[in-house]
Symmetry: C2
Subunit: 120 residues, 2 copies
């Protein structure tokens, strides 16, 4: 049975949420927005737009063109990008810990198999 | 200041999150999926798909055709639907309380104005 997972989102504008946090991790791992987009099975355009939104939401850029990047353009997390990602993951973990009992109980309301397709 | 919002995922799909919780409330208030969709400025098709996903994610339906519904079809929350909605709102409030300090600190990393458009 799949364990229910908890994700936190900030605000209605959504400076950062699960999708953007995963994208930051992919950029960090892959070294470019285009490679991160491929790794996440996402269009380059969407990955670029999400990155641009994050860069505009925070006081400084979270993702910057990597100096000396290859043709096609490398990208890397800035120190602020890493801080935001780390804090987001910490908040996510704290929320999950805080709600562990409620989640265990909530689990009993869910169907055993994952029959779903849609997103929210 | 943005409040943290929660999503509860079952496997890779989202059993309930902010959008689906709001939809349940709108159905409860409006008495039909189509009226709830209009109230949320959402297509009927999308509201129906979200409802269908919820009904498949949980052990029983959260939304049912209202007995004696008018032409066009009324809908109402089942007792399970109300329980899921109530528990979700309680978990949301508990997470917000648990993360209040972190959120206040995180706020300092955001740009003062909301310059964002995209969703996550």
């Amino acid at each position: 049975m799949p364990a229910p997972r908890l994700r936190i989102l900030l605000g209605s504008a959504i400076a950062i949420g699960p999708g953007k946090a995963d994208l930051l991790e992919a950029i960090d791992r892959c070294g470019s927005i285009s490679a991160a987009a491929r790794a996440m099975d996402m269009s380059y355009r969407r990955a670029w737009l999400l990155t641009d939104t994050m860069n505009r939401c925070f006081r400084d850029d979270l993702v910057a063109a990597a100096p000396g990047g290859r043709r096609g353009g490398g990208a890397a997390l800035t120190p602020l990008g890493r801080e935001v990602l780390d804090r987001y993951r910490q908040m996510e973990a704290k929320a999950a810990a805080s709600l562990a009992d409620e989640m265990a109980s909530f689990q009993g309301l869910l169907r055993p198999e994952d029959l779903t397709r849609d997103s929210d």
